[in-house]
């Protein structure tokens, strides 16, 4: 009985010690991996940084303007070509179609009298 106890305790001892060294090694390998990955991250971040500067340089408004003038067949947009999405709801579309151009006061609000005009 006592011998068994001895053997059990002794083997626990051995297991513990070997377990400890195993964990220590694992930690060491993991740390190395971590350092390597972090180095790669820093490297990538550096590259991204330089690329961002490159991208911004290529996005210089003057450069874009020159490129669009030389290669695109487009002109600057006129104010009359912009509109509010509100104008495209069914009610307003119907009014616009009826009058064919900018609606006058009478056509949109036929029941309202323009009382503020008085001479």
């Amino acid at each position: 009985m006592k011998n068994n106890l001895n053997i059990i305790i002794a083997s626990m001892l051995v297991l513990t010690i070997s377990g400890l060294f195993y964990v220590k090694d694992q930690v060491k390998y993991l740390k190395q991996d971590l350092a390597e990955i972090n180095r790669q991250i820093a490297d990538s971040k550096m590259q991204i940084h330089v690329l961002e500067a490159e991208w911004q340089y290529l996005n210089n408004p003057e450069r874009i303007r020159n490129l669009s003038e030389n290669y695109l067949d487009l002109k600057p947009v006129n104010v009359s070509q912009y509109s509010d999405p509100e104008n495209f709801n069914p009610v307003n579309m119907a009014i616009l179609q009826q009058t064919n151009n900018t609606p006058t006061i009478a056509s949109i609000y036929p029941n309202l009298k323009p009382v503020f005009i008085s001479y």
Binding site: K2, N6, I9, M12, L13, T16, G19, L20, V23, K31, L34, A35, N38, R39, A42, K45, M46, H49, V50, E52, A53, Q56, Y57, N59, N60, P61, E62, P76, V77, V79, S80, Y82, S83, D84, T102, P103, T104, I105, I108, Y109, L112, P114, F116
Partner: protein, 572 residues
């Protein structure tokens, strides 16, 4: 147990209770055994604990020890409000030599000449022949140049990694960003403003993506600069300034001062180019001050829209005579005094409201104090120490007081946005700071000013600033420049301060042209209406779509009603 350890046994029977000595030895052994057991159990428990722990909770200091060698850059990147980079640090290589290790100086120099440009060749050649241990050849090389030199493989030449501040937009943000000196410390503009912040944060957050974000918009800045450049060239002016500001949050969307300089080449900039005409130079802004005078009248002078003013005779005050030029009629109501920019009428309004109230309002609008702004180049307004009746009158139409264009924009914005003044800022505002404001005029006054500014553009002196669909409102200014106590009628400062859309103002635009020379197109005139107002119109036309403002139908019933204007006709 005792048998196993003691073979030359003290005890004959193996029993712990045999004698006192055996008892003590027994106890000691048991004690040590128990102690070791406990220690090992503790180790086992700790191991189990550690092996199950979440890796992320490990001590942060471990990360720092591994990473102190991988600091990216010492100075954060500055971006505009949409994330476009306007200032960035890049790693460069600087070439130096150890003359003691250089074998053949001439051959080395000849080889280097093929790869890069070397300044001061003779000086450097002399230094290379000397017995020094360190000689700079050229700093801040591009990666391509570094590669070429590396390929040559000349002994005795080495690279040192340095950082250089690069401005990808060249001229576009000259006066806003300022500059850095050789050591990379900010010495002017926003770069200097952030200097303190950079030192504090650069070590903690170098893995974070926090970038100082400015309120400026690169697209708006580009439009404004181009238009300003055109007008300056057309009228051969000595300088020009333009500011676009958000009327509600007081963020500066664009600030241009011409002439300007390339930020990457700051050594070549002249002091005229570095002079900031938008926030540092003070000028008598002229009739744009009538906006503040009308606010004074409505707020403190009980001015009514149908108060009449007699403009037939020039107004005499002490030794000054105030005249009006090219006015269409002799009797105008209060609104027309503003719309057609009458000096006599304006003086009348100022006298009606009282000079103390004028001073009070101008102070409240911030026009008498130095600006509060993030950059260091701020001008202090000039006004006479003795604020008598004469000063009161001249200040009502913008003479006798000199302020910066930024003052005018800020004050105008505060009047038309409902009467709330905040500090102008170059930093993008987060919406948390809503309570930091002062009220300068009532909402009712603000409404009235909005309307007369729109009328001034629709019917008055500012017609050339009108862009259909955007309800542009504003005020022209043509201020003769002072010269030795009098006014030089041949040179002036032509300005226009406008805002849009006037039913609910979002942005204020100011353009100022310094000493324009009239040409054929303007029939020799250099008034604000001819020189500056068209520029504001062109700017608004181009930036409104960028800023998500859609055009409205100006013939809409409600808008026509809101901005209805009837010229005053004397009853017959």
């Amino acid at each position: 147990m005792v048998n196993w350890i003691f073979d030359t046994s003290y005890s004959n029977t193996g029993n712990c209770n045999e004698s006192a000595e055996v008892k003590i030895s027994c106890f000691r052994i048991k004690f040590v055994l128990v102690a070791f057991c406990l220690i090992f159990i503790a180790i086992i428990i700790r191991l189990c604990d550690l092996s199950q722990k979440d890796g992320n909770k490990l001590n942060r200091s471990i990360y720092k020890k591994v990473h102190t060698k991988t600091v990216l850059h010492s100075r954060p990147t500055i971006v505009d409000r949409n994330g476009n980079i306007i200032a960035i640090n890049l790693k460069t290589a600087s070439l130096y030599a150890n003359p003691r290790k250089v074998i053949d100086t001439e051959k080395a120099m000849a080889l280097l000449e093929k790869a890069i440009v070397i300044n001061n060749k003779d000086k450097i050649a002399n230094r290379l022949n000397s017995n020094r241990s360190f000689v700079w050849i050229r700093r801040n090389l591009t990666p391509k140049e570094k590669y070429e030199i590396n390929k040559l493989g000349i002994p005795g030449f080495y690279f040192k990694n340095e950082e250089r501040r690069i401005y990808p937009q060249n001229n576009l943000f000259s006066h806003i960003l300022g500059s850095v000196n050789l050591d990379g410390h900010g010495i002017a503009g926003i770069e200097r403003y952030f200097e303190q912040d950079f030192e504090v944060h650069s070590n903690d957050d170098f893995y974070s993506d926090k970038r100082p974000t400015l309120s400026v918009d690169i697209r708006v800045q580009k439009v404004v600069r181009d238009e300003l450049q055109n007008v300056m060239q057309e009228f051969k002016a000595i300088g020009a300034s333009a500011i676009v500001m958000d009327a509600n949050s007081f963020e500066v969307l664009s600030m241009v001062s011409l002439p300007d300089y390339d930020l990457n080449d700051i050594g070549k900039a002249t002091s005229n180019e570095k002079f900031n005409r938008s926030t540092y130079g003070v000028y008598e802004m002229g009739s744009t001050f009538k906006i503040f005078n009308m606010a004074l009248g409505y707020e403190f002078g009980q001015l009514k829209d149908n108060d009449l003013f007699d403009l037939s005779k020039p107004l005499k005050v002490d030794r000054f005579t105030i005249r009006d030029y090219s006015l269409k009629k002799n009797i105008m109501d209060a609104r027309e005094v503003f719309i057609y920019s009458s000096n006599i009428g304006t003086a009348g309004i100022a006298l009606k409201s009282g000079c103390e109230k004028q001073r009070y309002l101008l102070k409240k609008l911030g026009l008498l104090d130095k600006l509060e702004l993030e950059i260091t180049e701020k001008g202090t307004p000039l006004y006479p120490r003795n604020w008598g009746k004469t000063s009161c009158i001249t200040m009502s139409y913008g003479h006798g007081i000199a302020v910066t264009p930024m003052h005018v924009v800020t004050a105008t914005a505060s009047i038309i946005n409902g009467g709330i003044l905040k500090k102008p800022t170059f930093i993008k505002a987060d919406n948390e700071d809503k309570d930091n404001y002062t009220r300068v005029v009532s909402e009712k006054t603000s409404d009235k000013i909005r309307k007369i500014m729109r009328m001034a553009v629709e019917h008055g002196t500012g017609k050339k600033a009108n862009v259909s669909g955007y309800l542009v409102g504003g005020k022209t200014g043509s201020a003769d420049k002072p010269k030795k106590g009098k006014y030089n009628t041949k040179v002036n400062i032509s300005s226009f301060v406008g805002a849009f859309p006037m039913n609910k103002p979002q942005y204020v635009v100011l353009v100022m042209v310094d000493e324009p020379i009239g040409n054929e197109r303007t029939r020799g005139y250099t008034t604000g209406g001819y020189v500056a107002a068209p520029v504001v119109g062109k700017i608004i036309e181009k930036i409104a779509p960028i800023l998500n403002i859609s055009p409205v139908d100006e013939n809409n019933y409600f808008l026509r009603k809101e901005f209805w204007y009837e010229p005053y006709e004397p009853k017959k």
